[in-house]
């Protein structure tokens, strides 16, 4: 069994998980900011 694809898979998975988490943080922050702005406008 060639182990190299496993090595790359582990490193790629790590960065995909961190990337997805950062995107969810930014999305949630923008949503909260938008909601706050809408309430302040009312």
């Amino acid at each position: 069994m060639n182990p190299i694809p496993f090595l790359y898979a582990a490193f790629i998975v790590t960065w995909v998980i961190h990337g997805v988490y950062i995107v969810t943080l930014v999305t949630r922050y923008r949503k909260a900011e938008r909601e706050l702005r809408e309430f302040q406008k009312k």
Binding site: M1, P3, I4, F6, L7, A9, A10, F11, V13, T14, I17, H18, Y21, I22, L25, R28, Y29, A32, E33, E35, L36, F39, Q40, K42
Partner: protein, 228 residues
Amino acid sequence: MKTPVLIAVVLTFALLAFGLYQAFVVAPTEQTMGDVQRIFYYHVPSAWTAFLLFFVNFFASIWYLFRRGSVSDAIAVTTAEVGVVFCTIVLITGPIWARPVWGIWWTWDARLTSTLLLWLIYISYLILRRFSTGGQTPVLAAALAVFGFADVPFVYLSIRYFRTQHPQPVIGGGGSLHPAMWHAVLWNWLAFSALAALLCWFRYQLERKQKDVEETIALESMLEGSPR
């Protein structure tokens, strides 16, 4: 983005790049496992970072149970969420490493099972925080976190007290690590700790913003409900 945060982001990414260089270029190839052992430089620092975050969550939860401050509550939820991210990486990179080395993806030994249990405890903590609407939610979550943390030392000690498929611990496990491997693992731990601190800072800002939204909604519903 403010300048100190921007500097922290640049420094963290520089550290992560240096950690990657240490793992792939500087660290020597392990004799029995070969290059696949380099997963170690992400797997182990991620586990240490997750433990550190759950440790902070434990103290923030105790602090909250005694003082009921919003800062300790925000720190607790922040560290639990970021800790779950790192624990997820541990649970995924572990089987990816195990498959070419052990010939299996997973085995129900004490280390692997207790790590999965740890992840499930903090996932249930986050589900409780997300879906429970009662005023007692932070108290219940803090109590869950305090008792849930008991699994962290169990995870760490499981490979000392049980016969497991998982290798012995890096620190105090009796084995020896090449100095260049030590440097690579410590640089990556430093880089992952910096990343964790940055993620916690962003998550903390989000928590504060969400609290502002909740307070605004509560204030608005009070004003709508009050007699004119």
